[in-house]
Symmetry: C3
Subunit: 322 residues, 3 copies
C-alpha cells in the first residue's frame, strides 16, 4: 500500500488508506490541516494553491454530505470542480470503469475524489491513472474512509494532546464500518494505548481482537474510564433486518445517554461521523451537550480535506505553504 500512496521520494501521491502510513505522515497531515484552519476563519476563505487545477468528484454512490465537503475544500484551494455521478451516467451506457478514467484523464484533470460501494475501487483507479494524477479515497465499500479517520484524529488532537495515554472506545456497527477500520488503524499508528470496540456480537467481525483492540458487548463496561468515545452511525441501509431487534432495543443497549457517559472520564469527548440518528445511537442531550465535539469534526473535515488535496498535489510541504 505504501508504495502506491507514496512515491519514490517519499511524497504523498494518493490518499487511499491509513494502513501503511507512518506516524510522521499522520502528524504532517494534521499540521497541514492546522495551517488551513485559519483560512476558513478569514473573511476571504480561499487560497490560490490549486488554481487552474481540475478536481473530479467521481461518485459511484451518492453522498451529498461527503461530496459537499470535498467540493468546498477544493474550491477553497481555488480548484475547478467537476461533480460526476457515475451511478446515473456512463455506466448506464455500459462503459467500463477504466474507460471512464482514461477519458477523464484525457481531459487533463488533476485529481479524482472517488466514492464507491466496492472495496478497493480507489486503489484500482490509483493503480491505473496517469503519473500526474492523484486519487483520494472518499469511502470504498467496507474497506476504508481515510479522510474521515484523519478528521477524527485531528479532532482528538485538538482536545487531548498526548495520543499515547488515551483510552478510546468505538461504539456500534464495527462489522460494516469502513470508518471504524480506518479509525483503528490511525489510532494504533498514533500510539493510542487502549482501543476498545463496543458492539453486539452480530456487529463485530469474528477476528476483531486480531486488530489489537479489546472487544466489549456491554456499553457500561466498555465506556469505563475512557477519554474518547466514537459513536458509529447505524447504517440501516447496509444492514440486514435480522441482525438487530429494533432501533428502540438498540438504543436501550448501546445508545449513549448522560447517565452512561458518566462511566467515562469527566473530560471525555463524544464523537460521531454524522448524520446522527437521534434516539438510536445517542440521545439529544448527549449530541448537543458539552462533551460533544461532533460539529467540530465537520469543521475539521474541511481542513483535513484541503490538507490531503494540497499534499497530494505537491503544493505544500510539512505544514507550511510551499
Amino acid at each position: 500500500m505504501t508504495t502506491l500512496q507514496l512515491d519514490e521520494q517519499g511524497r504523498l501521491r494518493h490518499f487511499l488508506t491509513i494502513e501503511g502510513l507512518s506516524r510522521d505522515w499522520l502528524i504532517r497531515i494534521m499540521e497541514t490541516a492546522q495551517s488551513f484552519g485559519s483560512v476558513t476563519a478569514q473573511s476571504v476563505k480561499k487560497v490560490p494553491l490549486l488554481r487552474g487545477k481540475t478536481v473530479v468528484n467521481l461518485f459511484f454512490e451518492t453522498s451529498t454530505r461527503t461530496r459537499t465537503t470535498f467540493e468546498l475544500a477544493a474550491k477553497r484551494l481555488s480548484a475547478d470542480v467537476l461533480n460526476i455521478n457515475l451511478s446515473v451516467s456512463a455506466t448506464a451506457k455500459g462503459e467500463s470503469l477504466l474507460d471512464t478514467i482514461r477519458n477523464l484523464e484525457a481531459m487533463f484533470v488533476d485529481m479524482f475524489v472517488v466514492r464507491h460501494a466496492d472495496s478497493g475501487a480507489a486503489h484500482f483507479i490509483a493503480q491505473h491513472v496517469a503519473p500526474h494524477i492523484s486519487v483520494i479515497n472518499a469511502g470504498d465499500g467496507r474497506h476504508a474512509h481515510p479522510t474521515q479517520a484523519m478528521l477524527d484524529m485531528f479532532t482528538i488532537y485538538h482536545h487531548k494532546q498526548d495520543f499515547e495515554k488515551l483510552k478510546v472506545a468505538i461504539v456500534g456497527d464495527i462489522l460494516h464500518s469502513r470508518v471504524a477500520r480506518s479509525q483503528i488503524q490511525a489510532l494504533k499508528i498514533l500510539g493510542v494505548s487502549e482501543i476498545r470496540v463496543i458492539a453486539p456480537e452480530t456487529l463485530l467481525p469474528a477476528s476483531v481482537t486480531e486488530l489489537g483492540v479489546r472487544a466489549f458487548h456491554n456499553l457500561d463496561d466498555g465506556l469505563a474510564d475512557t477519554d474518547v468515545i466514537i459513536m458509529l452511525r447505524l447504517q440501516k441501509e447496509r444492514m440486514q433486518g435480522a441482525m438487530l431487534p429494533s432501533e428502540h432495543e438498540y438504543f436501550q443497549c448501546f445508545g449513549l445517554t448522560e447517565a452512561r457517559l458518566a462511566r467515562a472520564k469527566p473530560d471525555a469527548i463524544v464523537m460521531h461521523p454524522g448524520p446522527i440518528n437521534r434516539g438510536v445511537e445517542m440521545d439529544s442531550q448527549v449530541a448537543d451537550g458539552p462533551r460533544s465535539v461532533i460539529l467540530e469534526q465537520v469543521s475539521h473535515g474541511i481542513a483535513i480535506r484541503m490538507a490531503v488535496m494540497a499534499l497530494a498535489m505537491g503544493v505544500v510541504q510539512r505544514g507550511a505553504v510551499a
Copy 2:
C-alpha cells in the same frame, strides 16, 4: 419580524419577508439593485464583493428557475456557490433540518438561500443560524417570496416614478400565492393608493379585505383605470381540481387579452412572475406585446438578488459599493 431581519444597528442581516420593513429599506434595496444594473451590462459581469464567501442554495423544493437566478447573482458577486437539493439527500437519511443547518454552518458557509414548501422554514433557519450567517428566503409555502416582490417593485419603479398615485391590480390565485402576499405588503409600504385583487371567490382568502385591498370577481371591473396589472401564475400543482372548472373557462373569465387590457390606462404595464401559461393567464398577444414588462422582471431579478445578498453580507451601503 423586523428584529429578526435587522440587527441592533439597523442593518439588514436576513431577508425573509417584506413585512415589517420600512419604506426606506425598500428604496435602499432598489437603489442598490440599480447600482448593480450596470454590472450585468458590462462585458465582464462580475464584481469581487463576495469573493471567498460561500453561498448555499438550500432547496427543499425544486425550482430550477429561482435557483438559477440566485446562482447567477451569487457568481456575479464572485461568491462560491453550493447547490444542495435536500428533497433528495439528507432528509432521505432522516437527518433533522436543524442538524443539516448545523453541519453546513460548521463548514464555514456564509449564506443560506432557502426554498421550502412549508411556511416559516426560512424564519426557523434564521432563528437558529450562527451570528455570521445570513438567510435569504427564496419562497416558503404560502407565506412569502420577498425577492420576487422586490423585483416587481423595482420593475414598477422603472416605469412609474411615483408609487403613491398608482392603481395596481393583482389577478389570479391570490389564495395560494406567496408572491401576492409579499407584493401586497410591498405595495402598501411604498404607499400605493389603491391595490386591487381580482380572482374567483374560491381563490381569494376569506379575510382578503382586511389586508387593505379592494376585491373584484370580475376582470373588466377590476382592470378599469389601473396603472399596473400583475398576473399571477396558475399553479396547477398547488390547486385541488375541484376549485376551477377548466383552464379554458379560467381564461374566459380571468385571462388577459388585448381587448380587456383596453380597460386599463393607456400606459398600463403587464407583469407576470413566469413561467407563463399562455392561453390560461393571458394570450400571447399580451405576453409579447408592448405593454408587457415580463422579461424586464427577469433581468431586474438578478440585480435585486445581488443587492439583497450584498446588503445582508454588509458589503454595500446605501446603494454605493462599500
Copy 3:
C-alpha cells in the same frame, strides 16, 4: 446556414453545423485549438478570455460526457457555467422553448451550448436569440454534431498532414448518426479524396451516395488501403431492435479486429467518438492498440471546444489570442 453562423463581417457568431463553412474556417478553428493545446498542458490550465461571461449548458437530453467537455472548456476560459437540464425542469412546468430562451437571455447570459433530441433545435434557438448571444450546437437529433466532427478533423490533422491525399472510412450506423453527417461534410470541405461509408444496408441512408461517398457493405473491402478509420458508436438506445440481428453478429460482420485492420494502410489510425462498446464495434486489442487515437480525440475535444467558444465570443483572431 452560413448567414446564420457568420455575421456580416464574416465572423463566426454561432457554431451550428459544418455545412456551409469554408475550408479556411475549418483551418482557423483547428489553428485556434492548437494555440489552446499548450494551455491544458500547463500547471495552471486557465486563460482569462471569457472571464465574467456566463455559458449555459442547455441540455434537453442527458449526456454527461459531452456536458463535461463543454463545462471544462468553458471553465478553462474562465467563464461561469450554468448547467441546466431541461428535460426535468422548465418543460415540466409547460414552458415553451422560446420562453425558456427569452428568460435566460434576460439574465444576461452570453452563450448557449445546446443539446437536443430534435434536429434543428440549435438552429431554431440561434434564429431567435438576442444579438449578443452565441449558440453552440452540442448535438441535435440526427442532424449535426459539429464540435465532434472538428475534433475528429483536428485529430486527423495531427497524424496526417495532407487531407487531400487521404482515404477515410466511416464504419457503422451511418443512418442514425449526426456525427457521421458532420464528419462527411468536414472531410469534403477539407478536400479528402475518398470518403467511404461501411455499414449494413439497413444502417445506410437510401441516398447516401448523393453525399459524394462510396458505400460498402463489406468491412474488408471498405477498409482496403485506407489512411483513417472512423468507427461509429452503435447507439442501441436509438435503434429499433429489428434492424440488427445481435451485437455478436454485428461484431462478426463489422467489428474491427487486428486481422481486419491489416487491410488498411500500415500507418492507418483508428478513431471512435466514445464510449466504446468493446466487443461490438471493435475488440480491445484494437481499442487499446498502437493505431488507436481514441483518447487523443478526447483531449482534442477540449481544445476544439475552447476554440469554438472563444471564436464565437470574438475574443481570439486567426489562432492568436486577441
